[in-house]
């Protein structure tokens, strides 16, 4: 299995830098602490919906065995690694060469086989490859052309596959929480990480996805509890972060 074409082209002097970055990505108290806090909730949503979709038992240790998963915008591999441990055959793509190198290095240290590639969703879609599960987590708010991105993501999904997306809603509350709170007050994220105007309402994502022949089957909010620094799923509160699961329309 290729471990990302970019990792082989990396200058050895760069390796040290990447390894420091990998440590930063994977340090649960470090720069990416908010993502680590969210991860159990995101994973349980993906696992439970995917198990229902493919009729697997979520109590098994490798319930996703044999399923091909694509993680678009994989970053340091925070989702790719656990999904691999759950039995999936995971491909992680990222537009950043550094992220791909960092993720590859960390997977290697942990003895995990993950196919990391530095490629965009649009370019990968050109190859005609498809996957059983496609993840577009916290990525759609960063892309320039949402329609083209979702069209490409949809074409990467197998006709019987499961599609997951998470993003930020465009509400007053999300402005206060995600921009003012997370970037300015708590400094969880560098300032300018998010552009509020690019945030999409659930109705907008749902409509765009339907144009790309993906039917949204479930929507859930992600709610932060500052008292115990943890996240939980909410059926009602989609005001800030939300997740969705969909499948190909017949």
């Amino acid at each position: 299995m290729s471990r990302g074409n970019s990792s082989s082209t990396v200058d050895p002097a760069e390796i040290e830098k990447f390894s420091a970055m990998a440590e930063a990505w994977w340090d649960e108290q470090g720069d990416f602490a908010p993502l680590h806090r969210q991860n159990p909730m995101r994973l349980s949503y993906i696992r439970d919906k995917a198990c229902a979709h493919f009729q697997r038992d979520p109590k098994e240790l490798t319930p996703l065995k044999g399923l091909r998963v694509l993680d678009i915008g994989c970053g340091g591999g925070l989702l790719c690694e656990p999904l691999t441990r759950l039995g999936a055959q995971v491909t992680g793509i990222d537009a950043s060469e550094k992220n791909v190198a960092v993720a590859g290095l960390h997977a290697e240290q942990g003895g995990l086989e993950i196919d990391y590639r530095c490629i965009t969703a649009e370019d990968l879609a050109e190859t005609g490859e498809t996957f059983d599960i496609v993840l577009a987590m916290e990525i759609v708010e960063h892309v320039a052309d949402v329609g083209a991105f979702l069209e490409a993501s949809a074409s990467l999904l197998d006709k019987d596959g499961a599609f997951f997306l998470s993003t930020l809603n465009r509400t007053t509350k999300s402005f206060l929480m995600a921009i003012v709170g997370a970037e300015y007050l708590l400094r969880w994220l560098p300032r300018g990480t998010h552009h509020w105007k690019r945030f999409l309402r659930p109705s907008e994502v749902t409509r765009q996805l339907r144009q790309s022949r993906i039917e949204v089957r479930d929507l859930a909010g992600m709610v932060y509890n500052p008292l115990n620094d943890s996240w939980r799923l909410s059926r009602r509160d989609l005001e800030v972060n939300y997740l969705l699961y969909g499948q190909k329309a017949d």
């Binding site: 108290q29 994973l43 656990p82």
Partner: protein, 430 residues
């Protein structure tokens, strides 16, 4: 050295000891450690237990003559891991608990507290099971688990733990890589010491005397807790033996000097001393088997975890046996830790991560501290003969006895049915 592990026996043809790898290494194969092993291996995780004792010796009668009180919540845990069905026919149900205040050769105080299972309507208040029956059941259960392995007799002599993983080195030379190491080594836990985790501890000026009593009349499922000036004196109902003899388990706390003298007595004289303190409700006592005596202490670790290390049971907390809660607390630790580990593993996440171990500690610390405090307070309240204190506690008994809501709460707490309970404790599958 004659020590040889199961694994080194198989692989002795190779010179260098093989490096093994699993999800969880448990140091200590006592009741609590093996129960965790059963819970985790039942969920499919690979578990290796390292125990200092020869398995055959551990299962023999003279090794451990103690019996354990299994509260209702603990019974759910044992049901959940598949052990209860293997020991149920050896367990005696406690239908009634009689708590009374007394002095040697005096009638018990007229004020006494009386707990009846019918009052709560949740089945028996608990069960008494002999430790060797629990141990035999656990070995039987685990022998069929493909992802379980026992290294015994063997010892963890070194452990290296960091963000990437843990590695333990055994006395036999075997090396095991794991995501998490659990110390279930009892109160003197070497792994806890090596990790530099401080403890708060003190000795009670008391010893616990333990043995099995045989008696003429049946106990009818009644547990007696008799408060004597030197400490609590409990007679707990056991199953009749194969010859149909009625039996109870004695837990007698006594001042160290006197405990030593009692241990030195001939069986017949010892039985007579028991009789003097208990009275003749159960007819004449006799003591056939071995007797044990050990100093009582309280211990609480300041942290329950370190990098990729979790403390379990007595390694984290030792309490006074006054309420028979020590093993129950250990089982509640097992239920909470097993749930933290299994839930994390089922998400594909790192089971040795700090966040996982912090969750376990948050879950267990308060309950353990509460019971350490309660049992310590009870012991201080009851282990004396000062008349005003005697009067106050007798009135306290009477007050609890007459306040049904309070009494129900105490009963439910003692049964392990209060608080935010792990799935196993609620009687749900892991």
């Amino acid at each position: 050295m004659s020590k040889q592990t199961t694994s080194s026996r198989e692989e002795k043809s190779t010179q260098a000891p093989a490096e093994r790898s699993c999800d969880v290494v448990i140091s200590g194969g006592g009741l609590v450690g093996l129960t965790l092993a059963a819970a985790l291996s039942g969920a499919g995780l690979s578990v290796e237990v390292v125990d200092a004792q020869e398995p055959r010796k551990v299962l023999s009668a003279p090794f451990d003559g103690r019996a354990s009180a299994i509260a209702a919540g603990s019974r759910h845990i044992l049901e959940g891991i598949g052990l209860w069905s293997l020991v149920a026919d050896k367990a005696e149900a406690i239908e009634e608990i009689r708590v009374s205040d007394g002095r040697i050769e005096r009638r018990a105080s007229p004020f006494f507290l009386h707990y009846d299972s019918e009052e709560l309507g949740l089945g028996p208040l608990g069960h008494i099971v002999e430790n060797r029956d629990l141990r035999r059941g656990l070995h039987q259960l685990l022998s069929s688990r493909k992802t379980f392995r026992l290294h015994a007799p063997d010892l963890v002599v070194d452990s290296q733990r960091d963000a990437n993983g843990a590695r333990v080195i055994l006395d036999s030379g075997v090396e095991i890589r794991a995501a998490l190491v659990v110390a279930a080594e009892g109160r003197n836990s070497p792994l806890r010491r090596a990790a530099g985790i401080p403890v708060r501890t003190w000795q009670y000026r008391q010893h616990g005397l333990v043995c099995t009593l045989e008696h003429e009349r049946p106990h009818h499922g009644v547990a007696h807790e008799h408060f004597l000036p030197s400490g609590p004196f409990a007679v707990l109902p056991l199953r009749d033996d194969d010859a149909g003899r009625h039996r109870s388990s004695l837990v007698w706390t006594e001042r160290p000097e006197l405990a030593e003298r009692m241990m030195a007595l001939a069986p017949k004289d010892f039985a007579w001393e028991v009789q003097r303190r208990f009275g003749d409700t159960l007819g004449q006592f006799s003591v056939e088997g071995p007797r044990w005596s050990y100093p009582l202490s309280l211990l609480h670790a300041q942290r329950y975890h370190d990098t990729r290390l979790a403390l379990l049971g007595d390694a984290a907390h030792v309490i006074h046996p006054i309420a028979g809660q020590g093993f129950n607390l250990g089982l509640r630790d097992v239920a909470a830790l097993a749930e933290c580990i299994v839930d994390t593993r089922r998400l594909g996440l790192d089971i040795g991560a700090d966040a996982v171990l912090e969750r376990y500690e948050r879950w267990r610390r308060f309950d353990n501290m509460m019971l350490a405090g309660i049992t310590d307070g009870l012991n201080r309240l009851f282990s004396n003969d000062i008349p005003p204190v005697r009067l106050a506690r007798d009135l306290g008994f009477a007050a609890v006895e007459r306040t049904p809501g309070l009494k129900r709460f105490f009963m439910r707490h003692a049964m392990g049915l209060v608080g935010d309970l792990p799935r196993l404790t609620r009687g749900e599958p892991l």
